[in-house]
Amino acid sequence: MVEVVVAMAMIMVVFSLAMMIFANVSQSALSVKKVQAEAILRDVLLKASQASGNTTQSFNVGDFRIEEVVQNYQDQKNLSEIELTAYDVNQNKVATFQQVIISQHE
């Protein structure tokens, strides 16, 4: 009888430990949302390399709101700095990209 009780206790401890580990690993796993947002930002960045002038705009791509800020880079006439940020539906920042691009206004 004692053996059964010990066995039960052991299996409960083992299961609860396993569940804790599983929960921790799943929680800290990479968010698909983040990967998706980064892919979208990369695509937007490719298209935005045609951008000209200082602009700030916001637009939606899928479930994300993308904020695009283009400004002059260190007062150099042919260079611009582009900063792209993706927000999810809860307005949490998911991913961000920053790059120096060649201005198209020449």
């Binding site: 053996e3 299996i11 430990l17 396993a18 990479l30 042919n78 700095e81 790059q99 060649i102 020449e106």
Partner: protein, 421 residues
């Protein structure tokens, strides 16, 4: 029976669960490590692109020591950029790094063509018309003397090309050729004036030097040298104070060569920039791929017996890039570029003096010359072209040029991706 083995069964189940949990933790760890590596690589790639864009369009165009700076004043955006003078073009190197992770890229930089100044033919106004005969075809915009263009009968051949003579817009040229870029010529002079005292021996059959490393300079001084059975690639400069022969068994890629005279043997294949002070002779069937250059550079007055600065391409050669000559002080003999029979040039020819085409020669691109020369066994004709094709429409729309020539804009683009690490 069941009661007796319950503890054993639990231990076995616990072990199985333990193994599953360990593998779960291990796979999560490796997945996360890989993701962080990819994210870091992506960030470095982003910074590398920013550095390349700064090299291509930044205001600073000096050739200084490498500069290291933060792109956006954050901790993970440090780049190092460097610009090297490489003959007709510039070589840019960019290094992006975060702690010990580093990405390198080197590229050659060239300029786009200025459509306003670009012409298939620029012949300065020396108050003589241009004369065409045989199966000559000139297609593209031209700048020629106000005296215009005429048909001619030379070497028993009448003109048999297009009735328009020039298929394109005709504009009047100035009295002189548009000049070469003084700043780039000065850079050439600085490089030639540097002392290369040490005689270096090229050993082995292959030498490849990355543009991310220091330039390997080999000077043969007054020793007549033949490059044969050797493969040279990348950041290498060869100097010779006398004649340098390049055999068809030698392979040169992106290499700079400076010598008094250069002889390129028949059948040579390569992609290089060759500069001489006296002559460059290229044998039959040689093939120079884009971007190559043949140039005569004379910065000082000729001491002793005056010699003719000459570039000669024999028959059936194929050349892609720029052929030019430059003489600072006027010489008794005008510099000559002589293009052989059936030789095809994709790119540009710029001659401060004479330019001679032999039968079936073709330039797909642009020709700037002070005077055309056509010679038969008995007669010498000036400003005559016979059986030659000049066609700008056959040049690739992606063709980029050097800022040395007067048809380049200030817009820079990547000519070649060189080293990536």
């Amino acid at each position: 029976m069941l009661k007796a083995s319950a503890l054993y069964m639990v231990i076995i189940i616990a072990l199985v669960i333990g193994v599953i949990c360990s593998s779960l933790i291990a796979s999560a760890y490796f997945y996360r490590a890989q993701y962080q590596k990819t994210a870091r690589y992506s960030l470095l790639q982003n910074n590398l692109t920013s550095g390349i864009n700064i090299l291509l369009a930044g205001d600073d165009t000096t050739y200084e020591q490498e500069k290291t700076f933060s792109l956006f004043q954050t901790e993970t955006d440090t780049v190092t950029i460097n610009r090297i003078f490489w003959g007709l073009y510039d070589i840019g190197t960019v290094k992006a790094f975060i702690q010990k992770d580093t990405l390198y890229q080197s590229l050659s930089i060239a300029h786009t063509l200025d459509s306003g100044k670009w012409a298939v033919l620029y012949l300065p106004d020396d108050e003589r018309p241009l004369a065409v005969s045989g199966k000559t075809r000139i297609k593209g915009n031209v700048f020629i003397p106000p005296a215009g263009v005429n048909q001619a009968y030379i070497d028993n051949q009448a003109y048999s090309g297009d009735k328009r003579l020039i298929i394109g817009k005709i504009q009047n040229s100035q009295k002189t050729l548009p000049a070469l870029n003084a700043a780039r010529l000065e850079k050439f002079k600085e490089l030639l004036d540097q002392k290369h005292d040490t005689i270096s021996i090229l050993s082995g059959d292959t030498l490849q030097n990355s543009f991310l490393q220091a330039t390997r300079v080999f000077s043969f001084r007054k020793k007549v040298t033949t490059l044969q059975n050797i493969c040279l690639k990348g950041n290498i400069i060869l100097f010779s104070d006398t004649t340098l022969t390049i055999d068809s068994t030698a392979s040169l890629t992106n290499v700079l060569v400076f010598a008094r005279s250069i002889i390129v043997k028949s059948g040579f294949r390569g992609q290089c920039q060759l500069y001489a002070t006296d002559t460059i002779g290229v044998g039959q069937r040689a093939l120079f791929s884009y971007p190559s250059c043949l140039g005569i550079l004379r910065f000082g007055a000729i001491t002793g017996k005056p010699t003719e600065a000459k570039i000669n391409l024999q028959s059936n050669c194929s050349f892609s890039g720029l052929i030019f000559n430059y003489e600072k002080a006027k010489n008794v003999f005008a510099p000559l570029i002589d293009i052989g029979k059936n030789t095809k040039i994709k790119g540009q020819v710029y001659s401060q003096g004479l330019l001679e085409f032999h039968d079936q020669a073709e330039v797909d691109g642009s020709v700037f010359t002070a005077t055309f020369l056509y010679q038969t066994s008995f007669t010498r004709y000036e400003n005559y072209i016979n059986n030659t094709t000049l066609d700008e429409s056959l040049l690739s729309p992606y063709y980029l040029t050097s800022d040395l020539v007067p048809v380049a804009t200030s817009v820079k683009k990547t000519l070649q991706w060189l080293d990536l690490k």
